[in-house]
Amino acid sequence: MALQRIRIGRMLAYVAALAISAFILAPIYFITLSAFSTFDAVYEYPKQLVPKDVSTDSMSLFLNADGIVGSLQRSAYVAAITIVVCLAIGTPAGYAIARFAFRGGNSFQLALVSTRAFPLIIIAVPLAVTYLRVGIDDTVYGVAMAHIAFTLPLTVLVTASVFAGISYELEEAAMTLGCNRLSAFRRVALPLALPGVAASAIFVFVTSWNEVFAAAILTFSNRTLPAQLLVALDASPLPHRLAGGFFLLAPALVVIFFIRKYLLTTWGRVAR
């Protein structure tokens, strides 16, 4: 009796998991389908639910449209700058939190957590005004600086959690064997932390790649991909829009595959 109840429970769990998976996958499937259909298939109704007229027409229309290749490049630049700066400044701070008990350390950590309570919107508008005055409006650097401000706190917290998971004794052992503090960090702690740090870099990439509000406000002609898509939303033909949506969404499929374990262990804990 009890066994039967457990079996029914398992089955219900499977049904629920499958239903939720279908709900999540459906839009991804449909936009992929549209992005790789002929123009006729994109406009026709009723729609094809299985791929029949597969073609790269929409994709090439999108990629050859004015400003798209440029915006893709700029999105990549912005994300690259954001990652490099975030790691360069964030990793040492994360290491400090994980390794040292210092006065003010807790308040520093608390301050980083509380930055998450402030929407990006409230820093984007003043930054737009400042950039105009300083003359870095409409540049990838300006957008990157806003993205760094937004992703740096999380980078510090995640790397702190990564270093906290690596035993300090390993570094101490290296130091007794003739390493100094820096080389012990470089040759022992850093290699061990690398997968976790890479995962946080990937998450920074996703945040920057996806960010649209600040990017749209801080640029006028040198737009990133999401900003370009957003402002052209009303004006662009349907195949263009769908192919663009697919381009924006596609990295998620790869990225999540690589960081899925870290998301749950490190990131989930840090988010608290």
Partner: protein, 297 residues
């Protein structure tokens, strides 16, 4: 105890040598956050409260007098009221499913996590392909003969329909975020507790209600807190799905900054968004606080 007093000298010296190190390590982060987060935020308040004529509430008055303000306000609130409760239940269920260690759980994990890396703009575009009049949902509904002629989901005259459509897309996109936090919390609950409850005859729902829920409270608090804060920023998904059919607070801020080129009103909107986020956070903290005497140690 006395050994502490006789600590070997070299160690003590080394300790002192490194005393300043953590501060040097965090210094760049502190400076950056100060320059590009704290300072712009202060400037934001300045922009909202001061214009060419001096200090005052002019920007806020312009904002409130604009007809779009109350529309944006009510649409944002309606969205949050519909989205957050549904997605909390869904996120909790998804976290429980992942925690149940089903066979093939790795695949479910991958699928459940996907929306976390998908932008609100991409979500809006993907769902617009489904909800548009000549879209996939109507194709399916007609295929199974639920409707005879395509149903207009994105009817710009019906706020209710627009709210529901945007809510579906937002639930799709942002539930994972809550799930990740709840799942991390679930993993912190010792299996013994749940098993003990099971041994004493607690059914599934009793276990959830009396064991899992109370122990998960801190995670629930954080998940709701962060989700509510981000919910007031809802932006691109609304534009992608409704065009100019609906406006939310963030899209109004964008409009005032980018189209009307009035940074004072845009800043006023961002101050309103910040205020509402913090107020919502306070409500969650108060509503879900654990009385001191009932706290677990």
């Amino acid at each position: 105890m006395t050994t502490i007093a006789h600590e070997p000298a070299p160690l003590a010296r080394r300790k002192r040598r490194w005393e300043g190190l953590p501060y040097w390590l965090i210094l760049p982060t502190v400076i950056y956050i100060g320059l590009f987060f704290v300072w712009p935020m202060i400037q934001g308040f300045g922009l909202a409260l001061k214009d060419e004529t001096g200090w005052g509430l002019t920007a806020f008055r312009t904002m409130v007098d604009d007809a779009a303000f109350s529309e944006a306000m009510s649409f944002t609130f309606l969205l949050i009221v519909v989205i957050v409760p549904i997605q909390f239940v869904l996120a909790f269920g998804m976290a429980l499913l992942l925690n149940a260690r089903l066979r093939g759980g790795g695949v479910f994990l991958y699928i459940f996590l996907l929306p976390l890396a998908i932008s609100d703009l991409a979500a809006g575009i993907a769902w617009s392909a489904i909800f548009t009049e000549r879209g996939y949902l109507n194709t399916i509904l007609e295929g199974v003969r639920v409707v005879d002629i395509p149903f207009i989901f994105l009817d710009p005259t019906s706020t209710t329909q627009l709210v529901l459509v945007v809510a579906v897309a937002e639930i799709w996109r942002s539930t994972t975020f809550m799930m990740v936090i709840l799942f991390a919390g679930l993993q912190g609950i010792p299996r013994d507790y749940v098993e003990a409850a099971e041994v004493f005859g607690a059914g599934f729902f009793q276990r959830v209600r009396h064991v899992i829920f109370p122990m998960l409270k801190p995670s629930i608090q954080v998940a709701l807190l962060l989700r509510l804060i981000f919910a007031f920023e809802v932006f691109a998904v609304v534009i992608a799905l409704t065009g100019s059919g609906a406006s939310v607070l963030a899209s109004e801020a964008y409009k005032w900054q980018a189209t009307n080129q009035n940074e004072h009103v845009a800043a006023a909107y961002s101050v309103v968004i910040l205020g509402l986020s913090l107020a919502a956070a306070a409500v969650v903290l108060v509503a879900l606080r654990t009385p001191r005497e009932r706290r677990l140690r």
